[in-house]
Symmetry: C2
Subunit: 633 residues, 2 copies
């Protein structure tokens, strides 16, 4: 970029610009703007503006059922590619569905049911064509562990299943309500650092649980923490089965290898997608041929043929377990939303289209509500591009005809598949990047990680979210106040600490306040400003001139409340006692308006106390203080 | 103030100032600064700096026991004025102590005990000579109502008393720990609006409770809400006693009248201070003379002579009520701190000395811990200037010799005294001021008020605090982005909406982001910035020039985290697809540093993308876009 020497600005130092009052708005108008920015920041209905009625109706139908938008443009070519990708993903979804259901302490077939109905619902209602829908590891783990704290899945399997469906119902209800009430921003409170730490911790917890099937232990601990699991593993060495370990080890190496290849060469994606199904087939044949189930290798056993049975009569919508299922529903609902929305947004950014997060939430929520009445548990969008319809049809065929084939599938393979799937959740390079940029975020990450591993999955998450919010509140409670100085030859004022060439102006204490001023920080600001004054009194600048003016640059004060207003009143009183003057610079519209409304006597906001820039304030006020800026052309 | 025409600045438009990297600091140094600002913003130990050891020891002793600081300067003249004010306040403290103890469902004498030991402890440890110490209405109400939810004060008075002392112990422990850990800023989260609403609601609840003694009802409801109390009052009209009502009405009018006089003429303060004791004396004499206790006027009854009995053996520090007393202790502890610290600060501001809030909390906390072992319940500093020692001595004399005189004091007088005291907590003019300045703060006020009246005292407070914090979080989740324009003839860029004379610059989209950028708002900011771009595309400015540069003024971005960093990476990617350039202006030190650390390829922070002011960025980049500012001298 070249520099343009033709534009020249000349300014008289004495040209003082008035601070204008903001244009008048009624409380109602302000409320409207505020509500719009809070709940409709993406202005989802703008496409409807100025359209004729018929067009509006069509757009409305397409808005509710996005399938109407892309359906008519569907072509044979698209169908062909969809069939290929759908089959590939189905071959991944079948073994993963079975495995994740086991992770949630549910019968394996529920995992397949959950890969059939929800994708069909999402295909009609969801706005992303690129999102494969099904159960995911984190939500499965959390659902299973939260319910298991109250009900045993082995002693009371029917009740456990009922509670899982009920939780799914409430997860869906919660998700849909969030979207409908446009409160989707709640999931933003799970920061990146929190999620990376949480996912890594959960991946380790999940992997540890798989030691049960990988080592062939029958009496495994019911707890999730790292310590009880490891102690359970090493106190039961007598139960280890070498056949199981050998088989598990071989297939685990095979799966990890294919995963590694696909990461290196993304074009060979189908290798890692097909490997789980291949492992299932080979291991099943092996067990069948060698009658290995009689030599200590546990197998899935009979699976019932047929499509999803109705389950709406199994929902617990009242009674003693209501609090449990609502809590479980909310936690798993938020977790699965986080995953689904994040993946959806990534695809949208890649393919350059917009995703309305709130609308997606409604779609995912309805999908789970329907799912809970058709024997599915919590599902969401996961990582791969796919046609959900083709995938669902493949699952349907499996459910109708292929179920007996799973009878001899060994559980150890499911363990290996889960480990391979969750290992991808441990993102060390992202963690390193966070360490490099922001140490505090890294602490949040560690809290989430160790909280999940040593305390519990839900509490680890809660702790990390708590710390993130606490950090934000702390920033507000302790806002930065920065001492400004003049950059020689300009009217620019910048942080004296940061810009070493900047010079402080004798007689002036120029402070920039860098946060909204509210009840949480007025006390601090008052104390901090009086400390700045004391520091001026004891510093070098004092020798040149006594302090005369305290100039507060309010450019960065984005909001103020009544406590903040009284801060200025108090400050003025304190300064008057010391015969100092308080000068305010560039308050933004809202702040200016409130200051004026509170200033009954009209002496706080006079022309000598209010300026548009620090430069103008200093130039205008430095009459008695000899102050010369070297000219500089 | 005159304007100074001798200072002239001339600037070439092409003088571009480099954005300097901030001076290097290690993570440890940064952490130190951060911790200092968070926990020691008032730098409490600065007076020790550079002093010789002996002086340091003296200062240290004075720091721990402020009495050593003012004690040696104590004079006969001060003693005389202290005796007068001490006697005045004692005459207020005796009837108020008895009344507040009844408000807390405690025996009246506990109120007198609580006005004896705590003032003495505070006189030694506290830093304010102007704070009278004793029980206060709000903490009494909350203590009584929280404990009464679990234990009945009439059926199980000993247990109730034990729980009250235990709660006081934990209140003191909590207060002292807050101060010791320098977490005193927690009480700042009770905003002014919350407190005004809460106080007004509590005053009404307290006054309603007094209907029991004012109307002479014997079977009164145990609940606190406005509805059960009023229904109880009107369903028991048969219990109303006209003698009690007549007496209560007369004294209430008398007390309110004296209060009114003292408000009008603050010099006649002693009138309202003496009125309660006078009422007690007159009414006691009346009852005694007329034998009115036999005509339906209930009286206090025998009070035991003697000083505070030891009560440390009554503390419940374990067992089934532990959770209750800790909870009650924390709530009453915070409430009484809020009152004590606020009053202390007001006096400090009036008399121009500093109050170290955290140190005050330690003093108040120790006072309550000592109090809990000497039959006192929660106390704090309340509104009046006084010598605590003189007051305590007066109470001591009362406890030792005057107790039998209270035998015939009618309860109706205590009710009238409480109503008169709490009516001052309803501050309508402050509420109106808040309504005028900030409608949202007023909503918080109303929530606190109606929450207290219709739900419960604790929940009303919790709701209001929750809403206040939610508002702050909402501000962060939805930060302001403001479109800037050039004020003609200057290099100043200001909000286009606010400054009507400002002009947008064709080819540039200049946005100012006015909040820290973090996980809670990156998604919103991304959506909002792309909406601004769409608005540019469909607006007037586009006709003059295609959009070329998106300029983000980061002056007001006081902090950033890793999610915020990735916002810039994502934005750059999106803009590159549209062949737009992202230009950053004036990031503050911390933000600049993190951006540089994240910018591995060094292409985001090049000299063409980073400027010190918006003016310089526009001047430097507008080579291809014809752009002329009218000169203006």
């Amino acid at each position: 970029m070249e520099q343009n020497d033709t534009t020249t600005i000349e300014m008289s130092a004495m040209e003082i610009h008035k601070v204008a009052p903001p244009p008048h708005k009624t409380t109602l108008q302000k409320l409207k703007t505020r509500l719009k920015e809070t709940f409709f920041p993406d202005d989802p209905l703008r496409q409807f503006k100025g359209q004729p009625l018929k067009k509006k109706l069509i757009l409305g139908a397409q808005y509710v059922f996005p399938i109407l938008e892309w359906g008519p443009n569907y072509s044979l070519k698209l169908l062909k590619s969809d069939i290929v990708s759908g089959l590939t993903i189905a071959s991944l979804a079948i073994p993963q569905g079975i495995s994740y259901a086991k992770l949630a302490n549910l019968p394996p077939i529920v995992g397949l049911y959950s890969s059939f109905v929800p994708p069909l619902v999402y295909a009609v209602l969801g706005s992303s064509r690129d999102l494969a829908v099904g159960p995911v590891s984190i939500a499965s783990l959390v659902l299973g562990s939260m319910l298991r704290e109250v009900v045993s899945p082995t002693k009371d399997p029917i009740l456990f299943l009922q509670l899982a469906f009920s939780s799914t119902f409430f997860a869906g209800l919660f998700q849909a309500s969030l979207g409908f009430l446009r409160l989707g921003f709640i999931i933003d409170f799970l920061s990146k650092a929190t999620l990376i730490g949480f996912m890594a911790g959960a991946a380790i917890i999940v992997s540890l649980q798989q030691l049960k099937s990988l080592l062939g232990i029958t009496n495994f601990t019911k707890q999730m923490g790292i310590i009880p699991v490891l102690s359970s593993v090493f106190h039961r060495t007598n139960e280890w089965s070498w056949q199981t370990i050998l088989m598990g080890f071989c297939f685990l190496v095979f799966l990890l290898l294919t995963r590694h290849i696909s990461i290196r060469k993304p074009k060979l994606f189908w290798i890692s997608a097909g490997a789980p199904l291949l492992s299932v087939i080979i291991s099943t044949l092996l067990v069948f041929a060698l009658k290995a189930q009689k030599h200590g290798i546990s197998v899935i056993g009979e699976l019932q043929k047929g499509l999803n049975p109705v389950s709406w009569n199994m929902l617990h919508l009242h009674g003693s377990y209501l609090v449990l299922v609502i809590k479980t529903g909310i936690v798993t609902g938020i977790l699965s939303l986080t995953e689904g929305i994040a993946v959806g947004r990534t695809f949208a950014a890649l393919k350059n289209y917009q995703v309305d997060g709130n609308k997606e939430m409604i779609a995912i929520g309805l999908m789970n509500i329907v799912g809970s009445s058709t024997s599915c548990y919590v599902t969401t969008g996961s990582k791969t591009a796919v046609s959900n319809i083709v995938m669902a049809v493949t699952i349907m065929v499996t459910l109708l005809f292929l179920m007996p084939l799973f009878k001899y599938t060994p559980n150890v393979i499911l363990g290996a598949i889960i480990v391979t799937a969750v290992i991808g959740l441990i993102d060390i390079s992202a963690a390193y990047q966070i360490w490099k940029i922001d140490k505090f975020d890294f602490i949040v990450l560690l809290c989430a990680f160790f909280g999940v591993i040593f305390i519990s999955v839900q509490n680890g998450l809660a702790i990390a979210v708590g710390i993130s919010i606490f950090k934000v509140l702390l920033q507000i409670t302790r806002p930065k106040t920065v001492l400004l100085g003049n950059i020689p030859g300009t009217r620019i004022y910048r942080n004296l600490d940061h810009y070493k060439e900047a010079l402080s102006v004798p007689g002036f204490l120029i402070l920039s306040i860098e946060a909204p001023i509210n009840f949480a920080n007025t006390t601090y600001l008052k104390e901090r400003i009086s400390r700045w004054m004391e520091e001026y009194e004891s510093g070098e600048t004092k020798k040149q001139s006594e302090l005369r003016y305290v100039v507060l640059d309010l450019s960065a004060v984005s909001a103020i409340d009544t406590s903040g207003i009284s801060l200025f009143k108090d400050l003025r009183m304190v300064l008057e006692k010391k015969s100092l003057e308080l000068v305010l610079v560039n308050p933004i519209g809202e702040v200016l308006e409130k200051l004026q409304r509170a200033d009954d006597t009209k002496d706080m906001m006079g022309p000598d106390c209010l300026f548009l820039t620090v430069g103008e304030a200093v130039a205008s006020l430095s009459t008695t203080i000899k102050y010369q800026i070297p000219t500089h052309v």
